[in-house]
Symmetry: C2
């Protein structure tokens, strides 16, 4: 990775930002490689967990960069999952009005989603990702070997974002996943590489066409499954449910609504649900009262009935945006299906974490 | 201004950020105009002075924006000088990954320089403008009437940036200033409008060609006078000397060095100095020891003799970059001229602030 960082950034000094377990496991290799390529290389360790995605932590990074004498000839290297990438990317976007940064994602979710596209940022006490920027990495360096130590549940959650891209953009990838999801989960090199490559290529192409998520742009289609996923995450306090799991629930709900609205042909939701369940992902929304969901969906609190650009499939491999009010997204009798596999009937704790 | 903000941003809610004196003097007019154009409009007052250009203040602005329910359909309006513009622009650049902002500069310096070009940011305890972004305003709204209450010394300091652009890019503007600088300072509408318009047009054209200040780009030529200006500001603790005054000193020194290096023809520095002195600007560096200046110039503390892209005139109306070490920028016998008008011989306090 050192040679490639040197070639793509021309940097003289690299600061690798990572979390404790990766600092022990992979940072030494990365630092050696960077030094072999002629860079001064340093390591900064931030605590694990989303609490590190904060302005306080960004300010600490600035101080470290000043201590190390980093200027525009420096590069920040994010070694870790989405939190590390978002935090490091935001520091890189704003230090000295922007210095280069490189992503080395070590989770499947970060590989296929967060590391590509340039969305970086931190949370405020009142909400996630409220502060941020668009800052493209000079390089996304993916080493599939880092997935070897990723728990199965995390792999499944990461695969949810691959399914999302397939369902929204690429029917052939969806078919491939139907055939090979088990192999991908088991980290069989061929199927894993194919899935990660294709997911990254889709994301890169979407971002190339619509970097800033314009109102009529294609990038917002990547929010497929995310409207309700955010509501689930809010209601569960970002515990219990992993992001990819929440996205799986949100996608299935959106597909069912899409069939109801006659936007997607019958069977779309069932096919999506079948794939997600084979991966081991939950597909039913946790049993909170409807009014709790509606409150969580109302982003613009002053306009209770404001429409949301709700992303729904038009079938497998294609998605579109439908402006719906929260009450239309979750109509009164939305929970008409038996709630198998959802949080209510089968506590996720039982699945062995 | 309300109509224009509505037209350029499509915003539904505007938050005007300003300082106490302007909150009383101009904010009511701006708010009325914004409301007349159909926007919800709010006002946020930050304390005067560069101390407000801080991460703590940015975080406060985020909180206010959340309180007011501002989303991407909002616009921030910076009503004030450079501090207000930089702070507000940085908040706009980073809140929700970027929302629109508008500049209403009320000082000559902000009108002709800071409000155009998209450089926004805040200070860290260890240095100025260490954190920031490039975020172009959707609109720069200049009302020359706001200069009526600006002290003469501030007007002169603002005019230094007009002289800089003339000296570096536009010989005709320089000639015009030689003829009309007094009228501009006295706020005669014709000459004032012409000078502000031309200065903004030059800045906008430079930024259009080289927004991010690329290494070989034209934008760095705007740093003419600024290398030593920053050193002067560091040594004087950002008190006593206004930014434009420091730039005036820096430009004259650079012009003299340029003649020494045979880059500019003889007489260039004298002509520049004559204009600046007629405006009432200081042209000699304050009497700090040479080693203090050299220390302040060494940005890269680990490479004491690293070269700096020093911007010098090639004559009136044209500038270039010369890579010089700090010791070459300030050679041993640099203070060979009598130090009239400098801080040492004539304390600036005597000039009646």
């Amino acid at each position: 990775v050192g040679e490639e960082v040197a070639r793509r950034t021309g940097a003289r000094v690299a600061v690798v930002v990572t979390v404790p377990v990766l600092a022990r496991r992979y940072a030494p290799v990365a630092l050696r490689s960077l030094r072999a390529a002629g860079l001064r290389a340093h390591r900064v360790v931030v605590p694990d967990g989303d609490a590190s995605k904060s302005l306080a932590r960004v300010r600490q990074l600035y101080e470290v960069l000043l201590d190390l004498g980093v200027d525009r000839s420096g590069v920040l290297v994010a070694l870790g999952g989405g939190m590390v990438g978002d935090l490091t990317g935001f520091a890189a976007a704003t230090f000295l009005r922007g210095i280069p940064f490189v992503q080395i994602p070590t989770t499947l979710l970060a590989m296929v989603d967060a590391s590509v596209g340039g969305k970086v940022g931190v949370n405020l006490p009142r909400g996630k990702n409220l502060v941020g920027a668009f800052h493209q990495p000079r390089l996304v360096w993916i080493d599939l070997a880092t997935l070897g130590t990723l728990p199965l549940r995390q792999r499944a959650a990461g695969l949810a974002e691959v399914v999302k891209k397939a369902a929204a953009f690429d029917a052939r990838l969806f078919e491939r996943l139907e055939a090979e999801a088990g192999d991908v989960l088991a980290l069989a090199q061929g199927p894993l590489l194919a899935a990660v490559e294709r997911a990254c290529a889709i994301k890169a192409e979407v971002v190339r066409r619509d970097e800033r998520e314009g109102e009529a742009g294609v990038r917002r289609l990547l929010n497929f499954g995310h409207t309700l996923a955010h509501a689930v995450e809010t209601l569960t306090g970002y515990r219990r449910v992993l992001h990819g799991e929440a996205v799986a629930m949100g996608m299935v709900h959106a597909a069912r609504r899409s069939e109801d609205l006659a936007v997607a042909p019958a069977g779309t939701a069932a096919r999506l649900e079948a794939l997600l369940r084979r991966i081991g992902l939950p597909t039913e929304l946790p049993r909170f009262p409807r009014r709790a969901y509606l409150a969580a969906l109302r982003v613009d609190k002053k306009r209770r009935d404001a429409r949301i650009d709700y992303i729904v499939p038009r079938g497998i491999g294609s998605a579109t945006s439908v402006p719906l009010t929260p009450a239309e997204i979750l109509p009164a009798r939305w929970r008409r299906r038996p709630a198998e596999g959802c949080l209510g009937s089968e506590p996720m704790g039982a699945r062995g974490r």
